[in-house]
């Protein structure tokens, strides 16, 4: 028999395959050097997805505007590199701080109301920022995007190369660092209160969990992580455009998180890998109409039930 304490300890203990996976991730840019660009992209999207998982999967807040924080981080990092200094790590930190502040500000908007209200408010914040980035063209370059961002070498030693290997390593390292931190967070008592809020908010309140402040804190943290992902994108591509705020980005993110499985740390990572490769393949077959197939996939997935996708053994067992 296993008591509750043991099962909690078990879930936080490192599995055998986890270090292997992490080492494999670090080796990837070296092994698949010619695909370093897409590996970089996957690492960034994975980090972004993990940040959404914090609020969607672990806390149960439906958000369609998570790209707001991603974009904020991207613009903050790009502007920092352009106007202050080109050091990537300082830029990354700056992007995180700005996105975290924005998240703290926005966390007031998600406290009240139904799912629809939250959906609209998060969506609205994303749209608002996109509009702002578009109109403040003296600062952000408007619809043309912010060009000419030159990055210095990472840690003063590793210069970004054209092939993108250094960029891929940089993104993977940052992603792994955040993955480690998030892993600690969700397995802590704090993380347990989050899942309690997700599963039954009323009951969580009754056993003395401060729901409002927990929601605010996790929303702020998730915003900071999303900002880190955005900063990585801006730094490794040397470019920030208003497309970082786009609605599609938030929608795609929710989709890939659902593919990978919500409320599971590696769900975002798995979803990012599958989604990016799928996007690459389908759009090379039909560049214009690939959204149709994504749409079809979504509809079918939702009809069948998303829990069953990540549990293949339930496919043929009839209804559970």
């Amino acid at each position: 028999m296993m008591n509750a304490q043991q099962s909690l300890y078990n879930s936080r203990r490192w599995k055998v395959w986890e270090p292997v996976l992490w080492l494999l991730a670090l080796a990837l840019p070296y092994v698949l050097g010619s695909h370093a660009l897409i590996i970089n992209e996957i690492a960034i999207v994975a980090l972004f997805a993990v940040s959404l998982d914090l609020i969607l999967g672990y806390t149960g807040i439906v958000s369609l505007g998570h790209a707001a924080f991603f974009g904020m981080g991207a613009y903050a990092a790009a502007l920092f590199a352009k106007l202050v200094m080109p050091d990537p790590l300082l830029g990354l930190a700056f992007g995180i701080v700005v996105a975290t502040l924005l998240g703290a500000l926005c966390s007031f908007t998600i406290m009240r109301g139904s799912d629809l209200t939250r959906l609209m408010v998060t969506l609205g914040v994303g749209m608002l920022l996109m509009e702002l980035a578009n109109k403040l063209d003296w600062l952000t370059g408007g619809a043309d995007g912010l060009q000419g961002v030159l990055m210095g070498p990472v840690l003063g030693r590793f210069e970004f190369d054209l092939q993108g290997q250094v960029a891929a390593w940089y993104s993977i390292s940052v992603t792994l660092v955040f993955l480690f931190l998030v892993r600690r967070l969700v397995n802590s008592p704090f993380g347990a209160t989050l899942t309690a809020i997700r599963d039954n908010r009323l009951r969580a309140m009754a056993i003395g969990i401060p729901v409002t402040s927990r929601l605010a804190v996790i929303y702020t943290i998730a915003a900071g992580v999303a900002g880190a992902a955005g900063a990585l994108l801006a730094q490794t591509t040397g470019f920030a455009s208003i497309d970082v705020f786009a609605f599609d980005r938030s929608a795609d993110l929710v989709l890939l998180l659902v593919i990978g499985g919500t409320g599971w740390l590696y769900g975002g990572v798995a979803g990012a890998i599958v989604f990016k490769i799928m996007q690459d393949l389908i759009s090379s077959i039909t560049p214009q109409y690939w959204t149709f197939w994504i749409g079809l996939f979504l509809v079918v997935l939702m009809m069948v039930g998303r829990e069953r996708l990540i549990r293949p053994w339930t496919w043929f067992g009839g209804k559970k």
Binding site: F108, L128, F292, I294, G295, M303
Partner: protein
């Protein structure tokens, strides 16, 4: 000044017709349907096609768009939507986004991505001006027509909801589905017909709005946010709420774009967020109904 107010009202009325179906289905089934704009797009394209290929007069196109989209809505409700009612909101959102993506890509494939133009009949093209100076009121005949049609529809809807037997069944189902079913109301049929009429109204709105809002395959994505704003701000428990919200949005949007063109859309979103923080359930909530 008055002209802007007039255009705003016309736009708001149009938004109301487009969004009222969404408000009712959301209130009734607690289903977040982001694919509502796709129905409106289908209505718009039915009109465009009939007028361009078969020379059907504009006035005849409107009812055809309504009926066609209503049938489509009924079929989809029965086959695709019904299993989704019991799922969590996240599933519903993703499901309807998927439908929208499919509709957008399919329209792109069959109709090309260029904007379609609706040829209005002669008698709707003119413009009447009253008064002068700051109080000048310029009324485009087509906008006048939109206001007239939408006002008539609103009165009809209000009548159906408030006075008929079907209306009271519908209100009962919105308030409490289980009790309504227990009283012998066939909630499924109420759902089906409401969904069909709501979609049909969206189709009609799309047909009417094709000339004003432009009709191209990205229509559902571009305007979805506006429909959702109307519903979120207006609340889902009555039709006066969405009507007032739509008018407010229409006037704010037109006026914002006219007076401060650089920050037009900005104002709308900021206003929405402020209202939703202030009244999370929407501006007009009827007491007693289930939220």
């Amino acid at each position: 000044m008055l002209t802007i107010l007039f255009d705003g009202i016309a736009y708001g009325m149009l938004l109301f017709i487009l969004a009222v179906g969404l408000a009712v289905t959301m209130g009734l089934m607690n289903f977040i349907n982001l694919a509502h704009g796709a129905f409106a797009m289908v209505g718009g394209y039915i009109t465009v096609l009939l007028m361009q290929r078969f020379d059907v007069p504009f006035l005849l196109c409107l009812p055809i768009a309504f009926v066609g989209v209503a049938l489509l809505g009924a079929v989809l409700e029965r086959t695709l939507y019904r299993p989704m009612y019991k799922k969590p909101h996240l599933d519903q959102v993703l499901f309807s986004i998927g439908l929208t993506f499919m509709a957008v890509a399919a329209m792109d494939y069959f109709m090309t991505s260029s904007q379609q133009i609706v040829q209005l009949p002669e008698w709707l093209k003119g413009r009447t001006e009253l008064g002068d100076g700051a109080l000048m009121l310029g009324m485009g005949h087509y906008r006048l027509f939109i206001i007239a049609v939408c006002a008539a529809l609103t009165i009809a809807l209000q009548y159906i909801l408030a006075k008929t037997r079907f209306g009271s069944r519908l209100r009962a189902s919105v308030d409490d589905q289980r009790v309504a079913a227990g009283l012998g109301i066939n909630v499924n049929v109420v759902f089906l017909s409401t969904f069909a009429v709501g979609s049909g109204l969206a189709g009609l709105g799309g047909a009417l709005g094709a000339e004003v809002m432009g009709m191209d395959p990205s229509f559902p994505l571009k305007n979805m946010v506006y429909f959702l704003i109307v519903v979120a701000v207006g609340g889902t428990s009555s039709i006066t709420g969405p009507l007032l919200a739509a008018l407010l949005l229409g006037i704010a949007d037109v006026a914002g774009k006219y007076y401060i063109p650089t920050f037009g859309a900005f104002i709308v979103y900021a206003l929405m967020i402020a209202i939703l923080i202030w009244r999370p359930q929407g501006l007009f909530v009827r007491k007693g109904g289930k939220a």
